[in-house]
Amino acid sequence: MKNVIEAKHLRKIFGDFVAVDDISFEVLPGECFGILGPNGAGKTSTIRMLYGFSPMTGGILKVFGLPMPGCFRAVKARTGVCQQENNLDPDLTVIQNLEVFARYFDIPKAPAREKAENLLKFMALDHRREAKAIELSGGMKRRLVLARALINEPELLILDEPTTGLDPQSRHQVWDRLEALRGKGLSILLTTHYMDEASRLCDRLMIMDHGRVLVQGRPVDLIRKYAGHDIIEIVEPADVLKAHVRTQNLEYEDLGHRLIIYIHESGDRLYHEISDRYCTEGCIMRMATLEDVFLRLTGRELRE
């Protein structure tokens, strides 16, 4: 089967600022693909080119096998987009927001109403059906934006930070729904700053920084390759410990007040050695996560 998205050497330049710098990737049918990266990495800029919001400065892009931006109408008709900002119609009610959006896709009134009702149930918003969008909580607004992105029964769902600002309950609920959608064969492309979200939802992902792709792959593979198996973290490490670690041929990061050791096989032996000999507290061992990969690859300095 054809790739849903095929991007080759995509570039986006604003004035003389290169926001997206020669990136290539594919999204396969039915998979959930993630784009991770610090603030300003170029995630939103990339996504906007995918659904024809902004023209590409360079590169080749095909969505559903159709060349973009030439076929923008056909592509948009089959795509659902949840933009980074909640841009609901504040004066309209919850159900009206969906119905008005359905008209943009030329969906007739009766089926639009039916789809809207179903989506409100799916997103657990049916009890707020008649509320004005402006009266909803942040979490409900986000869920409504998500429901709206599904009104045209898209084959591809593009989500720019779908769960930012949601409480844990809402996030889990959104994850459930997205998993259900993926189960039905929907292809999903999402950006997120939450590594647990990416690990849970994404079949594959790429990490971007400064408009370039740093790595691409399955979350587990990336973790194994760039963070190892176990992580030992020591708070306020003693100098003798630092000296010891230096002699041991280990992968580690010395952050001053914190020492992080990446271990590719089991860390049990080293952990016991360190905790017995160098520190009685402030020393933990845990599984390596995507967050370790992310921080290692993109650094720990603040952005923007």
Partner: protein, 263 residues
């Protein structure tokens, strides 16, 4: 090279119009009030208060009452106001604060359709206000029918003209406060000097020539003629003026907004 899809306008612009109409219907009871009361206020103030001082007025060789003179001008002014304000403040709020256009751009709508829908909506508000005002003014017997009915399609044309200018200004305005500038430089002088509250002939000659360039002057002439039941050849000139005005400013507005919205 930046790749852009070519200009695309289809009937889909109607979807944008429909969206604005849906929102309008939420508050229609309030939106109805200004065009209903405004002519009453003006007619009371000018008709009762001022006309005692002014008396009758010379218009095209006839003596007409001051109220009869200004009533059609009130309609013309409202056509200008409704479209201009809708496509400046209204469109700016939708574009900048509510990000309504951004949401639309994730659907099969093109930027050209969004802007076209907005301008036609602004013109529609002119038409709605005109119809309400005409109903009120007709109660005083100040509009002659059936010729007066032509004011309705005229409101659409005038609305597109003033809406296009408004939309163009929205395309180059960075902050909502800055709309004060074109209102002060463009709208207010027209409100006062387009033969609205006194005949243009009372102005010095140079100012009369200047006033001949203003779109409101032509709109006032048209509404005044139609209200008095006149259909004259000179009206074709005024109509032609508006057509040319729209042919220039409508594409200009679309072009400006295209540059503003496509990032």
């Amino acid at each position: 090279m930046t790749q852009m899809p070519s200009v695309q306008i289809s009937r889909r612009f109607f979807r944008v119009w429909q969206r604005n109409f849906s929102v309008y219907r939420q508050n229609w009871k309030i939106s109805f009030i200004p065009p209903l009361l405004e002519p009453l206020f003006y007619l009371l103030a000018f008709g009762v208060g001022l006309s005692a001082l002014v008396g009758d007025i010379q218009y095209k060789g006839n003596e007409i009452s001051y109220v009869r003179f200004i009533a059609p001008a009130l309609i013309a002014i409202n056509i200008m106001y409704n479209a201009f304000f809708e496509n400046t403040y209204g469109s700016f709020v939708r574009m900048y604060y509510q990000k309504t256009f951004d949401a639309m751009m994730a659907t099969p709508l093109s930027v050209e359709e969004i802007i076209t829908g907005e301008i036609i909506w602004g013109a529609t508000k002119s038409v709605i206000a005109t119809a309400i005002m005409m109903a009120v003014i007709s109660l005083f017997g100040l509009i002659r029918y059936p010729q007066g009915l032509l004011i309705i399609p005229l409101a659409l044309l005038g609305g597109i003209a003033f809406g296009s200018v408004g939309m163009f200004i929205t395309g180059i305005t960075t902050h909502i406060e800055l709309f004060n500038l074109p209102i002060f430089l463009f709208i207010t002088p027209m409100f006062l000097f387009s033969g609205t509250f006194f005949p243009i002939e009372n102005l010095p000659l140079w100012a009369q020539h200047l006033a001949d360039f203003l779109p409101l002057t032509h709109l006032v002439n048209l509404t005044r003629s139609l209200s008095s039941g006149l259909l004259e050849a000179s009206m074709l000139w005024a109509l032609g003026y508006f057509l040319v005005f729209c042919i220039i400013f409508f594409p200009l507005a679309v072009h400006r907004m295209h540059r503003r919205l496509i990032k």
